[in-house]
């Protein structure tokens, strides 16, 4: 079972990221859960969402305390939230940042495998908005094979309708542009 925690800010669609991932996994015949952190969610405030993906039926219904993958949609939460909290030693941190991997490691002291992509830049170019939830899904599945990148297309089309095409472009571009640094 792979457990995922998504960090973002209210209104950035972090819950949607987790949901698209779970639906894609279920469509692949796997088992999955996605759920919000159930907090009083306010636009702009740091929020989290969770997902689990497994080959077997998932029974644990607690929050995710020890994620395998942590997805950071908004670089501004890095200085106020401990995004590494509970991350497994062999876990993967996937960060939206314009900074290089070396800079991120130096600035925050990240010790685990690290993936980065400038998702805000991609989202601004492809969507015209700094909303990185779909873009960062491309980075996530590049960093860890949670689902095939093409499996996300159907759920995105269903959820986003007429604006799906540009979200899919952003997703695929992030998949190509994501850099991964294994420790």
């Amino acid at each position: 079972m792979i457990e995922v925690r998504v960090h973002g800010r209210g209104g950035q669609g972090g819950v949607t990221s987790a949901e698209m991932l779970a639906i894609a996994a279920i469509n692949e015949g796997k088992f999955a859960q996605a759920f919000p952190s159930f907090g009083p969610e306010r636009r702009g405030a740091p929020v989290i969402a969770f997902a689990r993906v497994s080959e077997e039926k998932i029974r644990n219904r607690t929050k995710v305390y020890t994620p395998d993958v942590v997805l950071v949609l908004d670089p501004s939460v890095l200085s106020i939230v401990d995004v590494e909290e509970g991350l497994k030693a062999d876990g993967m941190l996937v960060i939206n940042s314009a900074k290089s991997i070396a800079e991120l490691r130096r600035e925050y002291g990240f010790k685990t495998d690290l993936a980065r992509v400038d998702a805000t830049h991609i989202a601004l170019e492809e969507l015209g908005l700094p909303i990185t939830n779909t873009t960062m899904l491309g980075a996530a599945v590049k960093a860890r094979p949670l689902v095939a990148v093409d499996s996300l297309v159907g759920p995105l089309e269903h959820r986003f309708g007429r604006i799906a095409a540009k979200n899919i472009r952003a997703l695929k571009r992030a998949y190509e542009e994501t850099e991964i640094d294994f420790i």
Partner: protein, 392 residues
Amino acid sequence: MAKRVGIEVSLAISEAVKQAKVDAIAAYPITPQTHIVEHLSELVADAELDAAFIPVESEHSAMSVCAGTAAAGARTYTATSSQGLALMNEILYIIPALRLPIVMTIANRALSGPISIWNDHSDIMGARDTGWIAIFAENGQEAYDLTLQSFKIAEDHRVLLPISVNIDGFTLSHVIEPHEFIDQQEVDAFLPEYKPAVQLNPDQPVSMGMVGIPEVYAEAKKCQDEVLKNSEAVVKEVFREFGEKFGRHYQVVESYRAEGAETLLLTMGSVSETAMEAIDRLQDVEKRSVGLVRLRLWRPFPSADLLKAVTGCKTLAVLDRAVSFGSPGGPVASEVRSTLYGVDGAPYIASFIAGLGGRDITIADFISIVDQAESMAESNENHQYKMIGVRE
């Protein structure tokens, strides 16, 4: 062919209600139930469901409207949570007395105060004595399956009682997970059209909800209680038929790796699945003799099946997710103690309260509950209940 879809549990429940072809829905939005009726209102607006969707100004009115539509012979559905259920309370008592087979989803949530939108079982415990059948789902598939089965149970002429399908708010209602939907044709074959025994009809006038003078009131209440108790047999019958048809089997009391176990944990609702993980760890890693019993049917209380499920164990740790203020134990534990009182070889019963107002109950918490229960049994500790994970 059954269809496997990844969908939010709330929407899966809406799908079951749509497939049940309800005639009337009256509801007022309240977190965490809102997605269910929101989606139903869309289905009605999009003409995918041919039903009257009656928006109201409060839950008291929602249940009052449901009483009216059900009395007119309509298959009737509503959903609520927490304060909404509390506001319905006055009407909740009247529904079973009128023998109206309404189906209601309760997305279980804590009661104020302090204000909490999160999950526990305070709301259903407050409605415990209203005379409704109450069942609990542990996951989204069960929520879907039990919703379909509930119409069949409630509308059976041996029953004609309302039923609440309890799903844990957020921890079930807002989770996306896999569901298998049954084909409409098969739903139709399983759940035929509702045929009311008596209905309001201007051409054949009847009176419902009359005064019960002292000469008849006690008889009316005795009848009502007997009907509710007898409904357990129909619940089992419907569970059996559903299992035979669709391969998913339900029991009023469920067991998990409980055979021959010296210690049993007893749970209700979606925490049962996390508890199974704890049982696997206790048996497979720690080689301990601990099993799990889960209550699916809360009302009528399945005393005989519970007795059978726990016979032979030495220690029984009962988990409650609500406080019955001033009582000698959690509400489930009190029923269990009452069921086992005076029974030869009855186990030591330890009462635990945990998971209030959305507090997680983790695998480690379940293991700690088992540890504490066993040491309490060892010293035959005299206690009312223990609260888990509370800071003092």
